[in-house]
Every structure is written in C-alpha cells, then in structure tokens.
Subunit: 314 residues, 2 copies
C-alpha cells in the first residue's frame, strides 16, 4: 500500500574522510523515498527550487516514485552543508540554507489522498501536524524529528507525538526528548508522550524497538524490546541519510504487508538496517538509486546470519 | 572441562548513582570465576592479603570454584576505588592500590596442570605470558587486557596476543590497540596480531565476534562477524565486572562443550551477554553469587526473543 512522505528534498555539500561532493541530491524525503520504493509505492510532498532539474526528477521517477506532490517554487532548493570526521558517527552541520523551504506550506494532491501510510520526515512539527490533519484516515503514521525541534519547539512537537504510531529517532534524540540517560527509561517516557512504538537507532550498533501498550491491535502488550543489528562495515563512505534510509526500509516493508504483527515489525527492523547499510556505501543517494531487490534480500539473509544462533547457512 | 583463570581478586570501593559500597569483593578473576562456574569447573590463580577472610573464600567455594591457587600473602589485597555517573558507560578510577599484587608471581598448583582452558584476565601481560608458558598443553587460551597495557606495555602485550585463541576487549580498547577508528578495520588489524577470534564488547549495545583465518578447526574461514545483543536494562546498579562476567559466561559455556563450532561460539556470545546482564543488577558480585541455572536459561531465551525474527514465543 502507498506511503505518503512529507519532508525535505534538498541539495547537500558533504565532506567525509572519503572525499567531498557538492550539490548532491539529498534530503530526508529523498533518502526515505528511494529506500522505501523497493518495497511499496511512494508519494512525495516537498518543495524545490529552480535548481531541481529533469535529471533530479528522474532519480525519483526511475524508481517509480510519484512526485506530483513536489511543488516547484521560485528561488533555490533547501541546501545543507556538513562534514564528518573521525568515526563519522555524527555530522557537523556547517550550513543550512532553507531557501524555498522557509515558506513551505504542504499541499496534498487529490491523487495522494487515499495513501494508507503516512511518513512525517524530519521537518518543522507545525508542518508535520498540518499534513497529519489533512490525512485523517490513514492506517498508520510514522515520524522522525531531531534535536533542534526537541529543544526549541517542544510544544509543537508534543502535538505531533500524540498522533504517531511509530517514532523513529536516534539514541541522543531519545535521551534528549525524555530528559533521561537510561535508554529503557527514556523509551518508556517517550512512549508515554504518544507513539505506540519507538524505534531508537544506534548507528553502527543497530536499532531497538520499544513497544507501548497498544503497539499491536488485538494483541496483549509486547513487553520486551527488539534489537536489530547493523552490518559491521569496513568502509563508510558517507553516513548522510542513513537514518532516513533505515526509516524507508522499515516503513516500506511495513506498508507492503497485509497486517502489522510482531513478526512483521521485527522483519521491518531488519530491512531498515539493510537499507541503512546500503545508503552509506556511496555518497548521497547513489547506492540507493541502483541497488537490486536481489542484493537487498541477500543482505537481509546476511543480517540474519550475523545475529541468529541457528541460521541455516552457519 | 576445567578453566584455569589467572587475574585479580580484589576489594572495591564503588560509587554509582544507586549508592556506594566499600571493600566489596571484586577483581576480574572473581567476576569471571563466578560467571563461568554456572557452566564448568573453575580454578583460580591470584594473590590476596590478610583481609581476605573465610567469608570471602566461601563466595568462591559455595559455587564449587577451586581456590587452592589463591596465594595468601602478608599485607593487603589489591584495592580499587571507582565511580560511575551519568550513563554509567565508563568507570572513573579514583584509586588503585596494587598492594600484594605488586610482587605477584603466579604459581600453578600441580592439581591445576590438567586444565584444558586457560583464561588470562586483565593483568600485567608479563604475568599473562608467564602463566601461558607454564600451561603449554591447554586446548584453548582466551585473554583480556586494558588501555593501560595497550598504551604503555605494547611489546609485552604483543607476545601475549600471539598466543591467544580469543581476545575479549571493549570497543575503545580495540580501536586503541589497532590505532584505527573503524571497528571492522580495527578488528582485522587486531586479528593480524595473533588472536584467532576477537570479541569486542559494546556495553549496552552488545558484542561482536570477528573471526580470523583459523577460528574453527577444519572449517573454511567464517567471513562474517557475529553480533549478540545486550539486554536493555531499566536499572544498572553497578557496571563493575560486567565485562569479566561476559567473559565468564562466554568462556564457561565454550569450555562446557565438546567441540568448538561456529554454532557453539554464537551461543557462547549470548551466554556472555546473559551473565553480563545479571552482573550489573546488584553491587559487586552479589547477583552472580545467587543466580540460578533456571534464571540463566530463561534469560538466554529472552536474549533470543529480543533478537531473533522467528522466535517461537513471539
């Protein structure tokens, strides 16, 4: 079933120990859409400027992604400049030019209205809430946020959290949102803010899903979290978009399944890790544009192999 | 089969956000022995002072641990003072009094000579090498070390590494030993120094085993690492000895098995995590003294449940 994603489509200047790229197509909605497109139809709501050309359109359309919701505006697209060094576990933001995103008012095309899955990528929670309100009948809402919104837009963010089925954030964001250093206690606190399930991404250490009272319709509460590994990688070329790619794999798989069960959610966690592991192999979205379904399924098996006691191939 | 462990038996003063204890029985060999004792016979080589009483002996002997190799010396036992704060992911050492350990010269009782498994806990690599030399016919040698020996005793440590089947260290130590930030590259470098298998402990994120060319006798090289989860815990009372307890569960299980296969090593990684998760529930060795085999096996199942896609109980 189709996912509607709202978020940034941007251009990135990125520097890592492996090199430097300028004006590389990026943005949370871009990474998310490409990763999810291997599992389910995806529709994008975003705004871009005159610098978004037919070549950039084709990155989406070649993967069958519906971009009629990408609004064209005068001016330049959102632009991010960042650098990674050392262990590359955190980007240093060197510049953020919102440009056309500054006045973005998301409009949902009529053809998108029947989307059953909504993903609110990391943007202003006011915009997230506005999109959520225009899609009252979706089956599931999943969202992301970041330190900036947690610190300075808490009240707006709180409204979004109350509407979420799944919140996907990283360790630091979870601890910050909860004001609590212990991750389990932090997760309990975040779940009490609204999300039925919380997925915490640990970068190179994988991700953990924590479940609230009503994560699974018609089932008793699942009391234990679930941990998915990340693939130990000898070379991380560019971590930009790894989290959004995780979200795309995770949510894309969920949306492709007829029912949300604990088993489906576990599998989605693994597909999240799989898509994140591909994303970092090349700069920008290069790898996510060209991975094959066979490669995805082979890597999924590899994730089982590195984490399961009884994996048949062992 | 019996494990011979050489390492510290000590008294700890520990402060954590959950309280403060003084003169608490500790030391790497103590935590290791208690954890391993649930799986296989354990024999200890260490030195203690007059402050080591019948009450402390009983902590070992109640678990069936052979302590005839614990030498009694004049003076005081090794004493460590440390504190944890915030996320408790690293101890701040406030004081180290080697005391009787300063002149420790490990002697191996005749009755220990047939031990088939040797564990070289974190002590001066000169002592580790001396014990290794006195046990030429062991089936397997596993060892630990720490930043102090890596930084200032590199040549002595190098000799020990060449003799190891398994090296168990944490993330920071692996990166420091290799001089390399990427964990996969660091692991490759450490494996090239001698150990056939490297187990890297990630604290609350679990542990990863990396395999060298000859990890498994008679088998082709296992090219992929293996990741074991840690249990997400709402309360960590005292992390002291968690790594040694991991090592005890890991090696104790290995020593209890007739053959070292990839499946046995995977299971050992999980038992390591299980024993580490018990260790941190109480100050010092309190929890490891009193856990039951049933609790251990229940928690092992829990580790499967939180990490396996197809766990039957899901």
């Amino acid at each position: 079933m189709a996912i509607l994603v709202v978020g940034s489509v941007a251009f990135d200047n990125i520097e890592t120990p492996h090199g430097k790229v300028d004006d590389c197509l990026g943005g949370a909605a871009t990474h998310f859409s490409l990763a999810a497109s291997y599992f389910t139809p995806v529709r994008v709501i975003a705004v871009v400027g005159k610098d978004f050309t037919a070549e950039h359109e084709a990155v989406f359309t070649r993967r069958g992604i519906d971009i009629q919701g990408i609004e064209r505006s005068n001016g330049l697209s959102f632009h991010w400049t960042g650098a990674y060094s050392g262990n590359m576990d955190e980007a240093k933001t060197l510049g953020t030019d919102l440009n056309v995103f500054e006045t973005f008012d998301p409009k949902i095309p009529e053809a998108y209205k029947d989307s059953e899955f909504l993903f609110l990528a990391n943007i202003d929670p006011v915009l997230q809430a506005r999109v959520r309100m225009q899609m009252p009948n979706v089956r599931m809402v999943c969202g992301d946020t970041m330190n900036y919104w947690i610190a300075d837009h808490a009240a707006n963010l709180a409204k979004v959290l109350r509407e979420l089925d799944v919140l996907l954030i990283n360790d630091g964001e979870a601890r910050m949102l909860a004001g609590e250093r212990n991750l389990v206690l932090a997760a309990q606190k975040v779940l009490s803010m609204g999300p039925k399930t919380l997925v915490v991404k640990h970068g190179e250490y994988g991700a953990t899903a924590f479940f609230g009272e009503h994560s699974f319709p018609g089932k008793a509460k699942v009391s234990h979290p679930f941990r998915a590994p990340a693939l130990p990688l000898a070379e991380v070329v560019d971590p930009t978009g790894a989290g959004d790619s995780f979200a795309g794999g995770f949510y894309g798989y969920l949306a492709s399944q007829p029912e949300l069960t604990p088993a489906v959610l576990r599998t989605a966690m693994f597909y999240g890790g799989v898509m994140g592991s591909f994303a970092v192999e090349r700069f920008g979205t290069e790898r996510l544009q060209n991975v094959s379904r066979q490669e995805i399924d082979d890597r999924f098996k590899l994730f089982q192999e590195i984490s399961h006691l009884d994996y048949a191939g062992a």
